[in-house]
């Protein structure tokens, strides 16, 4: 502001400084006060409810006791009641049925078939075998420590 007033003195004369600079300052102060209030509230309301990250899931999966019955009920829901008694041999060729079944099972059990093994799921039996395998999130060292070791073998994992 000092520089502006100095240039005003050299170029245009005193009247310009007296009228122009204080008026501009006065209006700009008012404008600064009004703007940020509206913007903040709008952004807060939009962000909070939608974009909260859900808590991280663990990769451990233990097949539940009633896995067979759950899978059978899912199959009956998706395919309707028109399936034979050997429901394990029902083929999953159709995209809609396969997607419906696998998505329902993944939401139910919290564990989805990875992309690399999707093409191996041709029949419901394959899906059942996949979901029968438990998955642990432990590293190899933790598994070794937790397992049966001979008495003269010790594992220390300290850095």
């Amino acid at each position: 502001m000092a520089a502006l007033s100095a240039s005003g003195v050299t170029r245009r004369g005193l009247t310009w400084i007296v009228l122009g600079a204080p008026r501009r300052e006065f209006w700009s102060r008012l404008r600064k006060e009004t703007k940020p209030v509206v913007a903040e509230t709008v952004e807060e309301v939009k962000k909070e409810p939608i974009l909260v990250c859900p808590p991280l899931r663990s990769r451990t999966y233990i097949p539940p006791e009633d896995l067979q019955s759950r899978v059978e009920s899912c199959v009956k829901e998706i395919f309707g009641s028109s399936i034979p008694s050997n429901w394990q041999d029902v083929s999953l060729e159709d995209g809609h049925l396969k997607f419906g079944l696998l998505a329902r099972l993944a939401d139910d059990l919290g564990h989805a078939v990875p992309n690399s093994r999707l093409h191996q799921m041709c029949r419901v039996r394959d899906v059942l075998d996949f979901y029968n395998v438990p998955i642990h999130d432990r590293s190899k060292f933790d598994e070794l420590i937790a397992g049966n070791l001979p008495p003269n073998l010790k594992i220390t994992w300290d850095y």
């Binding site: 939009k46 939608i50 991280l56 419906g100």
Partner: protein, 294 residues
């Protein structure tokens, strides 16, 4: 815009404590009219993609989940079929190595240059006579055994390491890289790269929640159609990179831990990469116009 102002006005009127739930309810009401674009709008039709180009009769197409970036939990929006010749070809690691090393080296020009004994300033005169001085016989003060002399076998001038691998080898390298990414669960297919915000933190949290890895390569079809939010988010992030489909290369795929393709990109890649399996040898270079080039 109107909805934002309405929400702002409502937020002014309400107390701060119950703002979250009320805002959810209010936003669900006007947005329920929009079909299929909001996560909470109920069960939608799954996005299924069939392979257009016929594959070998003996092999079934490989499949991948179609995910969505619009919400954290939208991980199974559909099922996409991928061509087996592109996404489950033989895992030729030697071709991957060849292509990755070629990508690093063919652009390389090393500008290192040293002076030989002829180029170093001076050294035309014999420093002392051949016999009589007791010192070893020397012909010039710039010979390579002298301090300050020339270099005998040093790098000579700008050298180019340019070479080209055959086009089919490079194409096979891309196919093998895509195969390897899918086989190791690092490939994700997305219906489109639309994000709800341009905040880069949303993208990082999404990748962390879905356990994608530290570095993600996002591939869209063309520069013009990239959504603004993704462009803004990835421009500020170092490990999340966005490229058009023509920029896909083996080195980038190996450098980034995860690869995210859109459905249009998958179709584009399949069409371009499979054409080379059954083409004639070129009569003139492919960079000149052909009538049936894909």
């Amino acid at each position: 815009m109107l909805q934002l102002l309405r929400a702002g006005a409502r937020a002014w009127a309400r107390p701060a404590g119950c703002r979250g739930l009320n805002a959810l309810a209010e936003e669900a009401a006007p947005q329920a009219a929009k079909p299929e674009s909001v996560a909470g709008a109920g069960p939608q039709a799954p996005v299924l993609r069939r392979c257009e180009l016929p594959g070998p009769a003996s092999r079934r197409p490989v499949q991948a989940w179609v995910e969505s970036l619009r919400g954290y939990e939208q991980e199974r929006v559909g099922l996409a079929e991928l061509h087996p010749e592109v996404f489950s070809t033989a895992p030729r690691l030697d071709i991957l190595h060849q292509v990755a090393i070629w990508q690093r080296n063919f652009k390389r020009i090393s500008y290192a240059k040293t002076k030989t004994r002829a180029e170093v300033r001076g050294g035309g005169r014999k420093p002392w006579p051949q016999k009589g001085s007791g010192r070893s016989r020397q012909g010039s003060i710039r010979s390579p055994i002298w301090r300050g002399g020339g270099i005998a076998h040093g790098p000579r001038g700008p050298t180019s390491y340019y070479y080209m691998l055959p086009m089919k080898v490079r194409v096979q390298g891309l196919k093998v890289a895509l195969t390897v990414k899918l086989a190791q669960d690092d490939l994700h297919v997305v219906d489109s790269l639309e994000l709800p915000t341009s905040d880069p933190q949303y993208l990082t949290e999404l990748a962390r929640y879905r356990r994608w890895g530290d570095s993600v390569l996002l591939v869209d079809l063309a520069y013009e159609d990239m959504p603004q939010n993704v462009v803004a988010a990835t421009s500020s992030l170092k490990t999340f990179n966005l490229i058009p489909a023509v920029g896909l290369n083996v080195y980038s795929m190996l450098k980034h831990q995860t690869l995210v393709l859109t459905l249009q990109t998958v179709a584009f890649l399949e069409k371009k990469l499979l054409w080379h399996d059954s083409r004639y040898a070129p009569l003139y270079p492919f960079r000149l116009p052909y009538r049936d080039f894909p």
